[in-house]
């Protein structure tokens, strides 16, 4: 049988043949029914994410509302956390979260940037590949395993090899290192966090360093720069916004990290000046006290802590995201 113009529809493997020339030029507005159903379905799955996000905010916000109403802004400025007396001040936890995370960042950023420079600029391939793989493995280790290792290996080591000598020597002069050396302390928490976030920061740093154009490097070398000068004065400034984005992403991870830091930070709701003393973080107080919270107000206070933690990490992540997006937009131009 000779094909008629209408049998162009036979090419439509959807099994629905449509009449007319228009079937050759399917338009967005004239999709068939299955396509419309499909579009709605896919779109609704996309919408699940913002809905879920809104629902998380709503659920935790509603649960935290009684605490917000009864404590007001004093909740974040008071240092008294005494559930028995129904006193709830979250400042020690906010302090612990912020200080441990920034200390971790202070340790992790130089290491991660050094590692990334080593991998991109210096290491021969036979060395770079296994080292890069090792840092990826570091990112794959579950947080509870870090905690276990922290309790039985890192904390005893830090106490005897770092904290005790530090307290004995500098402790008298510098209040940050004042003894006694507890072992389970802000310092241990910061160290374990730093090990956990290095892989993220170094991965981003490596990526942006490799993106630095070759001719920029070669120009610097041709002008007589040493390898280090080329890296430090040309490559790093070029990659700086990306490195900053990576550091802020690492900060976001450190702020929200729960189990590993709970196991090593000592869990004492005080604001101690010494980093050798125990601390407490927002995530840790949730992990430790949430299942034992007796009374509606106690529960609501913990919900407010969760809401605060959520707010801080979301803020940090939004900043990091905008930074990374800006960099990638600039690169695309």
């Amino acid at each position: 049988m000779r094909p008629t113009p209408d049998s162009a529809g036979a090419l439509d493997l959807s099994g629905r043949s449509r009449r007319g020339l228009l079937s050759l030029f399917p338009s967005r507005t004239r999709g068939n029914l299955a396509d419309q159903v499909y579009a709605v379905l896919v779109r609704s799955m996309g919408i699940v994410l913002p809905l879920l996000f809104g629902f998380i905010v709503l659920r935790i916000g509603v649960a935290a509302w009684p605490a917000i109403r009864s404590f007001g802004p004093a909740f974040v400025t008071s240092t008294d956390w005494n559930p028995v007396a129904r006193e709830f001040g979250a400042l020690p936890f906010i302090y612990g979260t912020v200080v441990s995370s920034f200390l971790a960042l202070a340790i992790a950023v130089p290491l991660a940037v050094g590692l990334a420079i080593f991998l991109t600029e210096l290491a021969p391939r036979w060395l770079a590949a296994p080292v890069a793989f090792a840092t990826e493995l570091l990112a794959a280790i579950p947080s509870v395993v870090y905690g276990l290792w922290g309790i039985f290996v890192l904390v005893p080591f830090l106490r005897s090899a770092v904290q005790e000598p530090l307290a004995a020597t500098l402790g008298g002069a510098i209040p940050f290192f004042a003894g006694p050396a507890y072992g389970f302390s802000m310092m241990s928490g910061a160290v374990i966090l730093s090990i956990m976030i290095v892989p993220f920061i170094s991965a981003v740093t490596r990526e942006v360093l490799t993106a630095v154009p070759r001719d920029q490097r070669e120009a610097a070398l041709a002008l007589g720069a040493t390898r280090w000068e080329m890296t430090w004065q040309v490559a790093i400034p070029y990659a700086l916004p990306g490195i900053l984005g990576g550091a802020i992403l690492g900060l976001g991870r450190a702020l929200g990290e729960t189990v590993a830091i709970t196991m090593v930070i000592g869990n004492r709701p005080d604001i101690a000046r010494s980093i050798l003393a125990p601390g407490y973080t927002m995530a840790s107080v949730l992990a430790n006290e949430f299942s034992e919270a007796t009374g509606d107000l106690y529960l609501s206070a913990l919900m407010e802590v969760a809401l605060l933690l959520f707010g801080i990490t979301i803020l940090v992540n939004v900043i990091a995201q905008l930074l990374v997006w800006r960099v990638s937009l600039r690169g695309g131009r």
């Binding site: 994410l49 913002p50 659920r59 050094g114 276990l148 280090w228 929200g256 969760a306």
Partner: protein
């Protein structure tokens, strides 16, 4: 007295020394980062391997004081949690990923993409508390279902973004060819694009599985833990990371030994899944 040539020579020497020194320091940084990894593996094997035996995998925990016993409940629990989380999360995530890849620059797609990236940063403990306030309170009990939902909430944004990226790697010509042949949009995506992006999407799913399998914090108030064998959706279940956490902070030496052994198994599982993700047949459209 310093003539010009001498000071130039000095500057040269300083620059060479600084160059040497700083490049050496980057090597030191790399060393310092890798050492904890080696130490962790060394301690896992030396402290954990001794407690590993057949009983560890096929028996339930015994009360403190009795020796022996295993973690069968935790293995079954973790496997069920991960399986249900995958069932719940992956279809939504892949659908959302398709939406993002096809929507591209539509305003709604931009919003969804941004929310997915931001959701990746929500602390896992907050997700646990959210699911407690939602599912556990509604059901009146801790359950496998609540734990799976918590893990699914973590999985969805991760898999959404990798799915989107993998679909975008499929050449335009493939889509255009299918459309030119008269394929409808849904058949183009399901019949042509998804199969082409399959291994990439699978890699993304495996990476996400490796991550949620090791999560403790979202399960503390959802799956809760259970000393007995359980796989029903409306009952609390044990999980490997939860049990490691409980055992590690306990005062008993025998439990510490078991925590090391369980960590060794958990790491083994996580690494196996990660390696599987690495060696899944490479997406032919990737990185050419």
């Amino acid at each position: 007295m310093s003539d010009g040539a001498g000071s130039v020579e000095r500057v040269h020497r300083t620059r060479r020394v600084v160059n040497r020194l700083m490049l050496t320091l980057t090597g030191v940084a790399a060393f310092v980062v890798v050492v904890p990894l080696l130490l962790i593996f060394y301690h896992l094997v030396s402290a954990g391997a001794g407690a590993l035996n057949l009983d560890f995998f096929i028996r339930l925990p015994v009360p403190v004081g009795d020796t022996g016993g295993g973690m069968l409940n935790a293995f079954v629990g973790t496997l069920s949690l991960v399986a249900y989380a995958t069932l719940l999360g992956v279809p939504i995530a892949v659908g959302a990923g398709i939406f993002l890849a096809e929507g591209r620059r539509a305003p709604l797609a931009t919003v969804v993409r941004f929310v997915a990236d931001v959701m990746n940063g929500i602390p896992s403990i907050v997700i646990g508390i959210f699911v407690w306030a939602w599912v556990v309170v509604a059901m009146g009990r801790f359950s496998l279902l609540a734990g799976s939902i918590a893990l699914a909430v973590m999985l969805i944004p991760m898999v959404t973004r990798t799915t989107e990226e993998m679909i975008r790697l499929v050449p335009r010509e493939l889509r255009e060819g299918a459309r030119a042949l008269g394929f409808t949009r849904w058949r183009t995506t399901l019949g042509i694009i998804l199969p082409a992006a399959r291994s990439g999407i699978l890699t993304g799913v495996l990476v996400a599985l490796a991550r949620i399998a090791g999560e403790t914090a979202p399960l503390l108030f959802t799956a809760f833990g259970n000393p007995f064998l359980e796989w029903r959706l409306n009952e609390p279940v044990a999980s490997l990371p939860l049990l490691i956490y409980q055992y590690a902070i306990s005062p008993y030496d025998d439990w510490h030994r078991q925590a090391w052994a369980a960590s060794l198994v958990l790491i083994g599982f996580v690494l196996m899944v990660s390696l599987a993700a690495r060696f899944v047949i490479r997406n032919p459209y990737r990185g050419s």
